[in-house]
Amino acid sequence: MSASRPYVPRFGEKAPTLPAMRRNRRAELKIWWREIDRPLLVMILLLMAIGNVAVAAASPASARRLSTSAEHLPDLYFWTTHLRWQFLGIVTMLGASMLPRDLARRAGIVLGLSMMGALLLVPFIGHEVNGARRWLNLGFTFQPSEFLKPAFAITLAWILSWRVRDPNLPVIPMTAGIMGLTGILLMAQPDFGSTILFAGVWFVMVLLAGIPVQRIAIMGAAGAVMIGATYLFYDNARHRIDSFLGGGEAFDQVDLASRTLLAGGWTGSGLWLGIRKLSLPEAHTDYIFSVIGEEFGLLVCALVVMLYLAIIVRVLVRLVGEEELFAILAATGLAAQFGGQAFINILVNLQLFPSKGMTLPLVSYGGSSTIALCLTIGFLLAITRRNPYLTRDRFNFRAALGLGPRKSAARQVGRVASKEQAR
């Protein structure tokens, strides 16, 4: 009788410890290698390799542009710097991916809290560049919103998964509150692009957490109102949206980017042979996709798009077989963060989206952003780790669509209950 009773935590009683295997570092590495999503890791490293070459291609353009009479930047300045960041990034990524899921969650939550705190400080002691106050200078300069990105998805997933423990917790309004606070802090910088991205990630996670469809419609309307308000009250966004809708002037950023993108034709001009990139502002960050287009051709651009899609689809399709709600939510949030940023950047370069000032993840040059994105991927790898020797429930598509078998599942649960009651 008592053996069948589950463990109920109560004061003074400890959970029975399971017999654990003795682990050493070598065994842990072996387990890590067995459990990690290796195709995902390969695709990420491939993307970073592409990014490395692309930054090398774009580096002379930006180095010449940013050189002053006082300080001359060597042509490959950004590339050599980027190499350092990529190395640090890969170390961060592999380190994060070795965390067990629980530890990854805790790390994410702690990071999220501290970055929210940092974000609160930004309006007061922030460091201003180009009219935007986004950076904190604590001996080294970093952008809290970049590091908030991976932590945000994990924190929200943690909160949303409480619902499994207690269905009556108002988890969605809680996350909405966090989202609202983040949004206000980001718009204070101002950083419209990141706000959109965070809102998008929040929306995806809330969607997964089971928000009813009519509420999605209401949120859509609210989003439209928010964007409308931004358009009215935030000059930079208005200008960008205006220039997107109106076609812009002859030589604005978007137009320069499109000229650069098309200059190489299908096969490109070859590494360091592009000419148009030299007149492109932000060649190594926001418009690196266009530089890839000029030097390596539209075919390689299409390849990059497909690589991003493959990464996202790989993560998401694997999640369908996942059994823990937190893992599904967190991994989807991280993937949406990564993919959303990638596709916003690509669509801006392809003139399908108003200019946002967002980097191409893992390809663009960047310090904070490279490390933060590597951390995102590291968390993603940690959360999607799975023991290949365990079999899992197969995804019941009909049940998910609310067809027949869902009832039978409920009935089955009911039967178990009645059995237990009979006992």
Partner: protein, 574 residues
Amino acid sequence: MTAITVSTAFSSGRVQLVNVRQLSLLTARLRVLWVAGVFTLVALAALARIAVLGLVEQAPRPQSMSEALLPPRGEITDRNGVPLARAFPAYALWFNPEALGDGGSALVRSPGEVAAELAKIFPDMDRTRLAARLKSGKPGYLRRRLLPEEANRVQAIGELALEIPRENDRYYPQGSMAAHVLGYVGSDGVGRVGMEAVLDKQLRDPALRGQPASLSIDVRVQGALEDELRQGMLATDAVGSAGIVLDVDSGEVLALASLPEFNPNQIDAKGASMMFNRMTNQVYELGSTFKPLTIASAIDAGVVTDLSRRYPSGAPLHIGGFLIRDSHNLGPSLNVPEALIHSSNIVTAQVADLLGAKALRQTMVDLGMNERPYIELPARGFPIWAKGEWPRLRAMTVSYGHGIAVTPLHLASAYATLVNGGIWRPATLHKLAPGQAPRGRRVFKSSTSSRMRQLLRMIAVYGTGRSANAPGFRVGGKTGSAEKPGHGGYNRSSVVATFAAVFPMDRPRYVVLVMLDEPKGTAASSYQRTAAWNAAPIVGKLVPRIGPMLGIQPDETRDIDLSDLKPLVAGDKE
């Protein structure tokens, strides 16, 4: 007991939780697929956009400084470097009502004032229509070509809406001269019709377009040919005419004309209707000009060994219900030289009959009469060529140029073969360096060719070609006046008059072929329609004009030796 109660209460809570967990997992798993679907759609949109950009959008063309110094399209020159087609960066006048960019009126001043200013610069433009045009606010060309000083004056009006874009235009400094050889460049920058189409790739290639493309054409000869053809055509009221001057030894075309012509500087519907090339694209039954080919084939085959042998010519020939007759009765009998001089169908048909259909057909095949003519131009007509073995009658009609229709260019190449020692070579419009002439293929023996030179010269001296016999130029040639096939047989009133000539006959250099399409009997041709009266005189006037240009001076003291053949026709003349 109590343990059971606790257990029950607890487990029902757990049941509910399990249910919630199951449901939220199901929802989350399904909606993960939604998210994946949305990302897939976005990625597909991006890929589609890349495809559209790559296929449709005009990529900015990479341009280097050295390329910018090259003409946008290579020049075409004649064999002496005289420009025939040049790249001409021109200004156009474009009305852009959006230029001010404030959504208001397109012009700063009133349309009437601006129109008045423009009319001052371009007196030929209508002021009121221009004002209406400016008022309508529709973008478009106001004028296609501006001189630089005119462009400056338009700039000085100070209206942003009047734009002066630089456009690459093709300019043909010789006007309509050699239009069918050159062709033109369409508004899309692609060459059409003539060598502009043939050389399109080369003229646009940055590596090659710095060098002008030299044609075999000589502008002076071309001008003389077109001039004489036009005069002859107008004098005889012909619907069209064509002419060619061909180097017999290399196959180079020194002049090629088809009238009426078009002006490649100004392509309109009328011009487009004139683009048909009668010299290379239209096939005709060229009539008696084929007789020398038949005779040459017979001499070559050893069928005609005795030029004094006489053939009956008193009565028309009845062959399988078909009647072969001459234009008028040429007497009871003729020998071969006489038959050529007087152009006897009856005798030529008999010679062809002796030769046999197979041998004559083979000669025609060797002369390339069964395929499109050899020249670079895209417009080349396919001959009307009887397939398979020829019956006896077919050979007899072909012998005097009926039952086979070829382009005049075919005939010109055949005449070159006839006199150059018997080697057939393709005609070309490219300038050939000395020694670059193709090897060609032997059709006639060298001895046959020598004999044919004498016979052709005799036609011009004693026969139907007398009016082509320009003094001192040793012209030889054969007339041909073929009735055009019409409804239900040949149409006696519409003919194709051809004169195929070669000069100088003692050392043949050039074939000159002139053809008139449907000449009428006018005072200029003594109310005659045959080639002796209209086509031959054109050659007679043309040869003295082009001979000196081509290095052939008139020399009365030189001529081909006709003394061995003269007695055979001495009864007729002199």
